[in-house]
């Protein structure tokens, strides 16, 4: 078990006039090597929840364990935990500050007190992971890059810490469709090639759903659905629509077919899956 959450509750501005309960009794286990999507409407507590994973926020009540270590016990070295869990914030390009991309990515490893050779190795490795050419980029200023490139550099600056788990908050926000696909592709690659545990946070069903293997649906501070994406889209389609989350277009289409009395499996996520499902059903009917 990598992360274990027990009855997490969190209230913002406790004792202030704008006190709000953001998380209500969250129980969650995340294993090594999982690929998870965390979806929910804006303001449902996704970002607040992930900030508990590496101890940036302390729950009002409840317990969090990372690899068996109790995060909120006195004397827990949170820096060690943060090294294990790489948290990429929303719009990570807004935290770039160094003069060159090399320095930017070397920031984390340098804080770990590594030697210059090891740092260089990690910068190379991280840039490779996000598909940026080492020689072309290291001398450039991070502020001279395009939005998509900046985001990749920001992602590399987390990867250079070599976390065991990567959490990304809305990694595709404000990118054009191509930039979005690129980033998702990098993340998928990182997961499959390096076996990294990944949590992808998003309010957008499309794309994320077809990338991940397990989906958590949050609503008003609670995790209300937890399961494989296909299963969720098959069984809980109505709930999702009621929450204002909507379905991927192709899934919605299949549900409409089903509502019209066609005997199809509605839990498909991609156009390709839908095609093969439909072909399968059509063959059967023609045979009859």
């Amino acid at each position: 078990m990598f992360i274990h959450l027990e009855n997490i509750c969190f209230t913002y501005s406790l004792g202030m006039p704008f006190e709000t309960e953001v998380l209500k009794n969250i129980n969650l286990d995340i294993d090594n090597g999982e690929f998870i999507g965390l979806i929910g409407h804006t303001g449902c507590g996704k970002t607040t929840l992930i900030q508990h994973f590496n101890g940036l926020l302390t729950p009002t009540s409840g317990k969090i364990y990372v690899e068996g270590i109790d995060l909120n016990k006195k004397g827990t070295n949170l820096r060690l935990v943060r090294q294990k869990i790489g948290l990429v914030f929303q719009y990570p390009e807004n935290q770039l500050f160094e003069e060159t991309i090399y320095q930017e990515i070397a920031f984390g490893p340098r804080k770990l007190g590594l030697s210059e050779e090891k740092i260089e190795k990690r910068v190379r490795e991280a840039l490779k992971m996000v598909d940026l050419d080492y020689n072309l980029y290291i001398e450039r200023s991070p502020f001279s890059l395009s939005g998509g490139e900046m985001r990749r550099v920001a992602l590399a600056s987390i990867l250079s810490i070599r976390p065991k788990m990567l959490i990304l908050d809305e990694p595709t926000a404000n990118l054009d469709p191509q930039g979005r696909d690129n980033i998702l592709f990098e993340i998928e690659k990182i997961h499959y090639n390096f076996g990294m545990t990944v949590v992808l946070v998003s309010h957008n069903m499309e794309k994320v759903a077809e990338t991940v293997k397990r989906l958590l649906v949050m609503h008003r501070g609670e995790i209300i659905i937890d399961g494989a994406p296909q299963e969720i889209f098959e069984k809980h389609a109505n709930d999702l629509v009621k929450m204002g989350l909507g379905l991927p277009q192709v899934t919605e289409c299949m549900h409409k077919l089903k509502a019209k009395g066609k005997d199809v499996y509605a839990g498909v996520l991609t156009v390709d899956d839908a095609e093969s499902e439909l072909l399968k059903k059509m063959k059967r009917t023609t045979k009859k």
């Binding site: 900030q51 940036l56 807004n94 935290q95 500050f97 920031f107 987390i158």
Partner: protein, 265 residues
């Protein structure tokens, strides 16, 4: 990171009360009157009366005293410091000796008086900002300053700058917190090290903060221009300030109390 969330000075708490509904100009001028009176009073009883006056205003404002007194927290250190300085540094009749430190009767009286002065000062200004929305506060300041237009004070511009600054304080605080968290996640450490290291550690926060603030300022300027903003001349207000009967009576009462305490005590 908790620190950033607990700043209550300058925060507005909406309530439906007499104090909230008063004209901002009246509130600002009343505050000034009380502050002037605070520096004229020399006797303890004067502070007591003025303190009661402010406390009653707090009760009328329906703002929980908890919030008003929270504004005191940041300056508690200054109050204690001045109290101690006065306690030990004033010459006079000695009442207690602690090693080489002497406490005198005069020092004690003076220290307590000064503490009261600071105490009431902060309570008054906290109440002003807690019970007046930032918008009406700057409206009030604009109108008050426009009296000095003839000596070239750009009242509207000052007010506009204040409005923008006030508007962006929470945004910038929120952003600072976010950047801090992001850099902590990247391995930054803001809590240990000596003072030079700590100052150096602020660079990863300050640079992104400035970059974003400048970008935001740029966008805001373009947005304002797109809405045809061109300074204060001929600009009308959505909310016209009008002095009503209750404003006149509240102001008269304040002036009477302040004059009374500053003349008599």
């Amino acid at each position: 990171m908790r620190i950033l969330r607990n700043i209550s000075f300058g925060q507005y708490i909406p309530r439906d009360s007499l104090i909230h509904s008063l004209d901002p100009r009246i509130k600002i001028l009343s505050c000034l009157a009380i502050i002037v009176a605070l520096f004229l009073i020399t006797k303890f009883s004067g502070y007591l009366i003025l303190g009661c006056f402010v406390l009653i205003s707090i009760i009328i404002s329906k703002v929980h005293p908890k919030y008003v007194f929270r504004g005191l927290r940041p300056i508690l250190f200054i109050i204690i410091f001045t109290l101690l300085i006065h306690l030990f540094m004033t010459e006079g009749e000695m009442i207690y000796q602690l090693g080489f430190l002497k406490i005198t009767r005069e020092g004690l009286v003076k220290g307590i008086l000064i503490s009261f002065r600071l105490f009431i000062l902060i309570l008054t200004t906290s109440l002003l900002t807690l019970a007046t929305s930032p918008i009406s506060l700057t409206d009030g300041i604009e109108r008050l300053l426009s009296v000095f237009k003839f000596i070239g004070i750009p009242a509207h511009e000052i007010a506009m700058m204040m409005t923008i600054a006030l508007r962006f304080i929470p945004t910038l605080l929120e952003e600072t917190e976010k950047i801090m968290k992001a850099q902590i996640s990247r391995g930054a450490d803001f809590e240990s090290g000596n003072i030079f290291n700590r100052a150096k550690n602020l660079i990863p926060i300050l640079i992104p903060l400035f970059v974003n603030a400048f970008r935001r300022a740029d966008e805001l300027a373009i947005a304002m221009e797109a809405k045809c903003y061109r300074g204060g001349e001929g600009r009308t207000h959505y909310r016209e300030l009008k002095i009503k009967k209750k404003d006149i009576s509240a102001f008269t009462l304040t002036i009477l109390v302040t004059i009374m305490v500053s003349v008599m005590f």
